[in-house]
């Protein structure tokens, strides 16, 4: 095995081009488990820990460009206002020790259906900035997950950053597990409201071969909110509407039975989380001053 230690992003891209089978290692919280248990014996480990720009983020008016190696702890501490859904999801990952090392780049690299960043990234409509010596491209998050633990990266590509629009409305994340810390999600759900666009986006984790959106549920809700003029009135959402939304979210799942839960339970739990997180975000929207609501600036 070779341990490659590029000091710059350009060197890292060159190394990945030369050794496309090299395994990048960021926080190591997925990679090292596989190495410790002998599940993986790559010829090259490509340490990204020395590349400073991966561990930082930049913001402009609308977007956060989150370096692939920013640990969850930093997202929770510093980006809660801009990325509330992702910050909530980050807080549910494992334990402080793991959150101090692991980050979104590694979560995307592993692309586990149970990764906690994914539902939040789907709901936020993120874009993955992938780069190689051939150039850079933005992969819409909806096109990133291609199968169980598979993603759209080419063998010579690395993730430089994730581009996430700053929240322009309330966001929530919810996860089912046996305790608060150190649990892989039985299933998870994220929702983001976009008052200015009168749209809602969702993300479902651990209830299908890949993280997925509940697109039918989103379309149904957007139409119902419009029809009843609820974005304008800021009135309560009727329980029957929330139930219908929850049912469509459950129907978007394609879960399996496994040690963490049955398929039936997962569908049920996703419905419950969908209803609750819709209620929480809608109540936050209603609570914002009407002027803010009209501008869609309520968070």
């Amino acid at each position: 095995m070779d341990f490659l230690r590029p000091a710059s992003w350009e060197d890292a891209l060159a190394a990945k081009a030369e050794h496309p089978a090299a395994v990048p290692i960021a926080g190591g919280t997925d990679v090292m488990v596989e190495i410790n248990f002998g599940h993986r014996r790559p010829e090259h480990l490509l340490d990204l820990g020395r590349i400073e720009e991966l561990a930082t983020w930049e913001t402009d008016r609308d977007t956060v460009r989150l370096g692939a190696g920013v640990p969850y702890t930093k997202i929770m501490e510093s980006l809660r206002a801009e990325l509330p859904g992702l910050a909530l999801a980050s807080h549910t990952v494992a334990s402080p020790q793991i959150r101090n090392r692991g980050g979104v780049g590694g979560n995307l690299g592993t692309a586990s259906p149970a990764g906690d960043a994914h539902p939040a990234l789907l709901a936020a409509g993120a874009e993955v900035e992938a780069e190689s010596v051939r150039g850079s491209r933005l992969i819409p998050i909806d096109a990133f997950y291609t199968g169980v633990k598979r993603n759209a990266l080419a063998p010579d590509e690395l993730i430089r950053a994730v581009r996430i629009r700053k929240a322009r409305g309330p966001q929530q994340f919810s996860k089912v597990g046996t305790r608060n810390a150190m649990v892989i999600a039985v299933c998870a759900f994220a929702i983001a409201l976009y008052p200015a666009e009168r749209r809602v986006r969702t993300g479902i984790g651990s209830a299908a071969p890949t993280p997925v959106r509940a697109e039918e549920a989103e379309a149904f809700l957007a139409a119902a909110l419009d029809e009843e003029r609820l974005w304008d009135s800021g009135a309560r959402i009727a329980p029957s509407l929330a139930e219908k939304f929850a049912g469509l979210c459950a129907a978007a799942c394609d879960p399996i039975d496994d040690v963490r839960g049955t398929a039936d339970y997962r569908r049920h739990a996703v419905g419950v989380m969908a209803r609750r997180t819709l209620t929480w975000t809608w109540e936050a929207y209603r609570a914002a001053p009407a002027a803010d609501r009209r501008e869609g600036g309520a968070v």
């Binding site: 919280t29 410790n36 480990l45 820990g49 334990s95 020790q97 793991i98 150190m182």
Partner: protein
């Protein structure tokens, strides 16, 4: 490969390190520092917790090469580390016995509160709890639970561990007021 890093204030180097080897393995098997425990090797138990450039991490999930040039504090260096912190904040310097640094306040508190049974989880808990007190001198119970949520203990049922951290925090507060 060869790796160099600082452990508990002293420069260390290790030769013939396998590229896939963990920082935990290097500490225990190559540097003679068996204080950090190896229980699960998958980040679940926290008994290998060390500080890497000040940040608590599972040493079993850090590749040795990733520690190159960095600073590691293990349970073996905790007393000296806590002593420096006390001195910086104007408190009493660490007591020392026969040139050996005495116990860190968190270590003494674990003993006094009866928070150690088999002791296997203790080094990791001490490093995690000490970092909490570094960051948050007056933690709430919720803060303590959160900071220690990555450390498993099979023996104590955690209540005595909670007592120990509260005790260390209150002693640290008293020392700072003196």
């Amino acid at each position: 490969m060869r790796v160099h890093f600082t452990v508990n204030g002293r420069q260390h180097e290790a030769d013939d390190v396998w590229e896939g080897e963990s920082l935990l393995y290097v500490l225990r098997e190559r540097m003679g520092l068996p204080g950090s425990k190896n229980a699960c090797e998958q980040g679940e138990c926290g008994s290998c917790t060390v500080r890497l450039d000040g940040v608590p991490v599972c040493a079993c999930l850090v590749a040795a090469g990733q520690a190159e040039g960095r600073e590691v504090v293990t349970v073996e260096g905790l007393a000296a580390h806590a002593g420096q912190r006390a001195q910086r904040s104007g408190g009493a310097p660490a007591r020392s016995e026969g040139g050996q640094a005495a116990l860190a306040p968190i270590q003494q508190a674990f003993i006094d509160a009866g928070a150690v049974q088999c002791g296997f989880c203790t080094p990791g808990l001490l490093v995690a709890a000490d970092e909490l007190l570094d960051r948050q001198p007056n933690p709430s119970d919720a803060d303590i639970r959160e900071a220690l949520s990555g450390n498993l203990c099979r023996c104590t049922g955690y209540e005595k561990i909670m007592d120990a951290v509260r005790l260390a925090a209150s002693r640290q507060g008293e020392a700072a007021r003196r």
